[in-house]
C-alpha cells in the first residue's frame, strides 16, 4: 500500500478515457461501479469539453455482485452500440471491475457487433494513467491499422517525385497539457517545411482515420508517454521511422526541424532562417541579467521536465538544482538528463517526497505541475506550471502552445512573470535602504484586494517604484517567516532588527538562508555578523 495525499496520475482506465475522449466516433464501455463516473467531470469541468466523454459505465452495485454482472456488461454494451453507433468500440474494466473477472473482451466479442471491438486490458493495481493511455492507443492502432499492414518483408514504396511528404502526429489526447495548441503549432511548422499531416491521433481522429496511418512517410511523436509504443509498432510493421526530438524550446525546435526535414527529404534552412522567436533576444537583453543562475527546481511528466531543464539551463541561464518526474516508465531518460546538470533525478510519484525535496533545495523558482504550485505556494517560492496533471487554468482561452517557436515565446513569458521583473530587481537592490520599503508596501501588480493593512502614503510611493514583487501568494500578505525549517539557532535581538531592514519580499529567504547557514556551521546564536556571514556565503 502507498499512502498518498495527492496523486500525479489517475488510474490506467482514465488514460484510456483520455484517448477515447480525444477521438471521434469511438465508444468505451467500461465495467465499473457507480462512482467511477466521476471521471466524466475531468473532461467536462477541467477541460470544459462541451460533450460527455464517449464512455458507458456499467455502474454495478453490491446487489448485482451476487447476480449476473456479465449480463449487465452485455446489456450496457448493446445499449451503447445502438445509441451511439460508433465506428469502433473499446471495452475494459476499472480497478473494481477487474476484480470481478467478467472478461469484457470475450463478452463483447460474443455480441457480434459489425464494428471492431477492441479489448483493453489494464492492470489497475500496477499501472497508471499515462501507461493506460499508451496501451490503449497502441491496441487501437494495432487493431485498426494492422489489417492494412504490408506483407512481412516488403519494402516501403518510394514516394513519387514531386509529391509532398506526409507524416502523422502521434500522442495528443484529451486532458493533455496544451496538446490542443501544440497540434496547431506543429502542423503549421511542418506546413512551412512542405510536409503534410496525414492523421493526428488520437486527438481528433476517428477509427476510420486510424486505418490510414500507414499511408504516411513517417511519424512525429509529440508525447512519448502516449505515443512511443504505437510509433515503435508502426515502425516495425509499416517501416515508418519516427522522430525522437521533442520540439519544446528554441534549440529543440531547431533540431526538430532538421530531424523532420531529414526524414521528409526537404531543406530545413529556409524555415530555420525565417523562424522568428523572441526568446533568444529577450534572454540576451540586459533586462534578463537578473535571471543568471536563478536556482530552479523542475518536476513533471518526463517529456516536459526534460525539455524544461534544457530551456532553463541553456536558453534562460538558470541553474537547474533539481529535476524529477512521476513517470517511472521514463526514469532512465530523466536520470540521463539530470546527470547533464550535475543533479540526481528525483523519480517518485509521492507528492510528499517532492515537497521535502523542494524545501531542502531552497530554489528561487519551481517549474512543476499543479501539485508543485501548491508546494511552492506553501514555501513562498514563485512557480510556473509546465506539465500535467492539468487544472482548469491549463486550458487557457488564448492560443498558448508549448511546442515550436511560438511555444518558446509562451514559455519565456510564463516562467519569467512569476519572478521579480528585470529592471525592477536591479532597482530593488539600489533602493533597498529606502525608508519607504516596509511591510505594508504593496507589489505593484496586486490590487487593493490583496492589501495587508498598509499606510496609504507609503503604498503610493512604493507603487510608483516598479517593484512588482514576486507572486508569492502567501509571502506577500504574510511576511512572517515562511515554513522555516526546524532550527536550533536562536536569533539575537540586534540580528532580528537587522533582518527587518531587509525588504519584506526577500526577508523570508534571508531568514531561511541565515538559519541554514547557522545550523550547518554550528552557530547557536545568530548575530548581525552571522547574518552577513550567511549573506556572503550565499552571495554569487
Amino acid at each position: 500500500m502507498q499512502l498518498t495525499v495527492w496523486t500525479y496520475e489517475g488510474p490506467p482506465h482514465v488514460g484510456a478515457m483520455r484517448v477515447a475522449t480525444g477521438m471521434e466516433k469511438l465508444h468505451y464501455v467500461l465495467h465499473a461501479p457507480q462512482g467511477d463516473t466521476y471521471a466524466d467531470l475531468l473532461f467536462t469541468m477541467i477541460e470544459r469539453r462541451n460533450k460527455r466523454p464517449p464512455v458507458t459505465y456499467t455502474t454495478f452495485a453490491a446487489r448485482d455482485l451476487g447476480k449476473d454482472t456479465a449480463e449487465l456488461f452485455m446489456s450496457a454494451a448493446r445499449n451503447a452500440y445502438a445509441r451511439f453507433k460508433p465506428q469502433a468500440m473499446i471495452v475494459g474494466a476499472s480497478c473494481t471491475g477487474s476484480l470481478i473477472q467478467d472478461d469484457p473482451g470475450g463478452l463483447a466479442k460474443s455480441l457480434g457487433f459489425s464494428i471492431p471491438v477492441i479489448p483493453i486490458d489494464l492492470p489497475a493495481y500496477q499501472r497508471k494513467e499515462n501507461w493506460g493511455a499508451s496501451e490503449t492507443f497502441y491496441q487501437l492502432v494495432r487493431a485498426i491499422a494492422g489489417p492494412k499492414a504490408p506483407p512481412p518483408g516488403t519494402k516501403r514504396a518510394e514516394r513519387a517525385p514531386g509529391q509532398r511528404a506526409k507524416c502523422n502526429l502521434l500522442g495528443p489526447t484529451a486532458l493533455g497539457f496544451r496538446h490542443r495548441d501544440d497540434i496547431t503549432e506543429i502542423t503549421r511548422l511542418l506546413g512551412q517545411l512542405g510536409i503534410d499531416v496525414n492523421v493526428v491521433a488520437p486527438m481528433g481522429a476517428t477509427p476510420a482515420d486510424l486505418t490510414r496511418l500507414g499511408e504516411a512517410d513517417f511519424n512525429v511523436v509529440l508525447y512519448p508517454e502516449v505515443a512511443s509504443q504505437a510509433a515503435s509498432w508502426l515502425q516495425r510493421i509499416f517501416h515508418q521511422p519516427f522522430t525522437k526530438t521533442i520540439p519544446i524550446g528554441v534549440s529543440a525546435t531547431r533540431e526538430f526541424v532538421r530531424e523532420v526535414a531529414g526524414l521528409a527529404g526537404v531543406d530545413p534552412e529556409p524555415v530555420l532562417a525565417a523562424a522568428s522567436t523572441r526568446l533568444p533576444w529577450y534572454s540576451h537583453s540586459v533586462d534578463s541579467t537578473y535571471l543568471t543562475n536563478k536556482r530552479v527546481f523542475i518536476f513533471g511528466d518526463a517529456t516536459h521536465a526534460i525539455a524544461s531543464a534544457r530551456i532553463a539551463s541553456e536558453e534562460l541561464g538558470f541553474k537547474v538544482v533539481g529535476l524529477g518526474t512521476y513517470s517511472r516508465e521514463f526514469g532512465r531518460d530523466v536520470r540521463e538528463a539530470a546527470a547533464k546538470y550535475g543533479v540526481e533525478a528525483l523519480i517518485t510519484d509521492d507528492y510528499l517526497e517532492v515537497e521535502a525535496k523542494v524545501a531542502e533545495l531552497h530554489p528561487e523558482l519551481v517549474l512543476g505541475t499543479q501539485m508543485e504550485r501548491h508546494i511552492a505556494k506553501r514555501l513562498g517560492v514563485p512557480c510556473a506550471v509546465i506539465s500535467a496533471p492539468v487544472h482548469v487554468q491549463d486550458f487557457p482561452a488564448r492560443y498558448a502552445p508549448q511546442m515550436g517557436f511560438e511555444g518558446a515565446n509562451v514559455i519565456f513569458d510564463t516562467w519569467v512573470h512569476p519572478l521579480m521583473m528585470g529592471l525592477e530587481e536591479h532597482l530593488l537592490a539600489m533602493f533597498k535602504d529606502d525608508f519607504e520599503f516596509k511591510d505594508g508596501a504593496l507589489p505593484s501588480h496586486l490590487g487593493t484586494g490583496h492589501a495587508p493593512a498598509s499606510a496609504p502614503a507609503a503604498a503610493e510611493v512604493a507603487v510608483a517604484l516598479p517593484q512588482s514583487a514576486p507572486v508569492l501568494d502567501g509571502a506577500a500578505s504574510n511576511p512572517a517567516p515562511v515554513a522555516t525549517a526546524p532550527t536550533g539557532a536562536v536569533w539575537a535581538p540586534e540580528a532580528e532588527k537587522e533582518l527587518l531592514k531587509i525588504p519584506f519580499f526577500v526577508r523570508g529567504k534571508a531568514r531561511r538562508n541565515t538559519e541554514r547557514f547557522a545550523n550547518e556551521n554550528g552557530v547557536a546564536t545568530i548575530t548581525v555578523e552571522t547574518l552577513y556571514d550567511a549573506k556572503a556565503h550565499f552571495a554569487r
Binding site: T4, P11, P33, D36, A39, L41, N50, A76, T96, V392
Partner: protein, 429 residues
C-alpha cells in the same frame, strides 16, 4: 406569505400511497459515498479520513475536492497494489504500516476513519477488525473507526450516513433524565449557530449537534433523546440512534421558510413550547426571510425545473421551489427515496409531480431534452454538456457545500437557482 406545515398539505395519506414513482436502474451519473469526506473533514476538525482503496479512489477524492484547495488536507488514500491483493494478511500488515506512518506525521489527529471502497469491499478486506486492532494500539490518543464509502454500497451523500452511523456506538450514554434534542447531519457552522440561538430563544434546552466539530466532544444519547434530522440522507444513522433509545421527530427539512418553520415546530412541539411563544420567536425571522425571498419570486416564478438525482436533497428542494417560489417541477429525481423520513415532504409536494428514484442517465437526458426545462439541476459531469446544448444548469454539488438551511439562508438558496438564469439572460455573445 404565512406558512404552516399542518393543515397545509396538498395530498392525503391515500394519495401518497398511490403517488407514482418511476424507478430506474441503469447507468448512474452520481458520485460515490467517498465524496462525503470532502465536507466531513471540514466539519469534524480533528478527524482524518483514510480511504483504503485504489488509485481511482485517490483520484476521485482529489478531483471532487475541487482539485487541491488545501495543501495538505485531512484525508488521504492507502492505495492498494498488486501485492496487497495477493494475500489478506499482507494487506493488513500494510495497512498497519500506513496508519502508523500517517499518525506519526499528523499527531494532531484524534479520530481516524478507515474508509472502505469498492475494491476493499470486493476483496473483503475486514476494516472493522483492522480498526479494532489499530484502536488497541493507538488508544487513548487516537480513536480509529471504519465505514464504507464504496460506490457499490453508497451514492454521494450516503457516505455521510455511513460515517455518522459508525460514530453512533461511540456516543456516551445519556445519564440525566432531562429530554435532550440531537440535531443530526452536517450543517455549516454558521447555520448551526443560528439554529442554536433559535432553540435557546424557544427555550428548547439541551441541544447538541451531530457530528460535533471536535471528536472529543461527542454528544450523549439515550431514551430521552429526540432526534431532529437536518439532512434527509441519514437513515442508517437514525436507525442506529433509535436502537440506542432515541426518538425521531417527524418534520420536513429546514429548507426555505416553510421547511424551517416546520422543522423548528417539530422540536418546539416535542419540548412543549407554547405556540404563542413559537409565533413570537419565529415571526421576525420568517418575515425577514419572506421579504428576502420575494425578490426572487419574479425571477423564478413559473420557470420549469428538472432535477437529476444526486444528493437526496432533491425532494425538499423541489418542495421549496414549487411552494415558495412558484416554480414548476418537470421531473424530480432522487438517487434514493426514504418514504418514512420524507413523509412530511411528500405531503407538501404537488401530487402531479413526476418522481424518479434511481437513474438511467441516457434515458433521463432524452426526457430532459424533450421537456426543454428552463433550468436543470445536475452533477458536474452533465452540467457543461447540457449548457452547450443551450440548457441552463445549476450544479447540484453546490447545494451540498453551501449553507442553505434555515431562515437566513432561504434567499441564498433561491439565489443559487436564479443566478444561472440571470447569467444566461445577460450574455449576448
Amino acid at each position: 406569505m404565512t406558512v404552516h406545515v399542518t393543515g397545509c398539505s396538498t395530498a392525503t395519506a391515500d394519495q401518497l400511497v398511490s403517488r407514482e414513482i418511476r424507478t430506474e436502474s441503469g447507468q448512474r451519473e452520481v458520485f460515490c459515498g467517498l465524496t462525503g469526506i470532502v465536507w466531513l473533514h471540514r466539519k469534524i476538525q480533528d478527524a482524518f479520513f483514510l480511504v483504503v482503496g485504489s488509485r481511482t479512489c485517490a483520484h476521485l477524492v482529489q478531483s471532487a475536492a475541487g482539485v487541491m484547495i488545501f495543501a495538505e488536507p485531512r484525508f488521504g488514500t492507502a492505495i492498494m497494489e498488486e501485492k496487497d491483493l495477493a494475500g489478506l494478511t499482507d494487506a493488513n500488515d500494510e495497512l498497519d504500516r500506513v496508519v502508523t506512518q500517517l499518525l506519526a506525521r499528523r499527531p494532531d489527529i484524534k479520530l481516524l476513519f478507515l474508509v472502505g471502497s469498492c475494491p476493499s469491499e470486493v476483496i473483503k478486506l475486514d476494516l472493522s477488525r483492522a480498526a479494532l486492532r489499530l484502536s488497541q494500539r493507538f488508544s487513548p490518543g487516537v480513536r480509529i473507526l471504519n465505514y464504507s464509502g464504496s460506490g457499490i454500497e453508497t451514492t454521494f451523500t450516503q457516505g455521510e450516513d455511513a460515517c455518522l452511523a459508525s460514530l453512533v456506538p461511540e456516543l456516551p450514554a445519556q445519564t440525566d433524565t432531562k429530554p435532550s434534542l440531537l440535531v443530526v447531519g452536517s450543517l455549516a457552522d454558521v447555520v448551526e449557530d443560528q439554529f442554536a440561538r433559535m432553540f435557546e430563544a424557544l427555550g428548547v434546552g439541551n441541544v447538541a449537534f451531530f457530528p460535533p466539530r471536535k471528536s472529543t466532544a461527542l454528544p450523549s444519547v439515550g431514551p430521552n433523546t429526540k432526534i431532529l434530522m437536518a439532512q434527509p440522507f441519514l437513515p442508517d444513522t437514525v436507525r442506529a440512534l433509535e436502537e440506542r433509545g432515541a426518538k425521531r421527530l417527524a418534520a420536513p427539512f429546514p429548507l426555505g421558510v416553510e421547511g424551517t418553520t416546520g422543522w423548528l415546530r417539530a422540536a418546539a412541539d416535542a419540548f412543549g413550547v407554547d405556540p404563542a411563544k413559537f409565533e413570537q420567536v419565529t415571526a421576525p425571522n420568517r418575515a425577514r426571510a419572506e421579504r428576502a425571498l420575494s425578490a426572487f419570486k419574479s425571477e423564478l416564478g413559473g420557470r420549469r425545473i428538472f432535477f437529476f438525482p444526486d444528493s437526496q436533497l432533491e425532494i425538499p428542494l423541489a418542495r421549496f421551489l414549487s411552494r415558495e417560489l412558484d416554480m414548476q417541477l418537470v421531473e424530480v429525481a432522487t438517487p434514493y427515496l426514504h418514504r418514512e423520513h420524507l413523509a412530511e415532504e411528500l405531503k407538501l409536494l404537488p401530487i402531479e409531480v413526476a418522481l424518479t428514484e434511481g437513474q438511467d442517465v441516457d434515458d433521463q437526458l432524452d426526457r430532459c431534452r424533450i421537456a426543454r426545462p428552463d433550468i436543470v439541476v445536475c452533477g458536474l459531469g452533465l452540467a457543461n454538456p447540457l449548457e452547450a446544448e443551450g440548457i441552463t444548469t445549476k450544479w447540484s454539488i453546490e447545494l451540498v457545500f453551501t449553507p442553505i438551511q434555515g431562515y437566513e439562508q432561504a434567499a441564498d438558496l433561491a439565489e443559487l437557482f436564479a443566478r444561472p438564469l440571470v447569467r444566461r439572460a445577460k450574455l449576448v455573445a
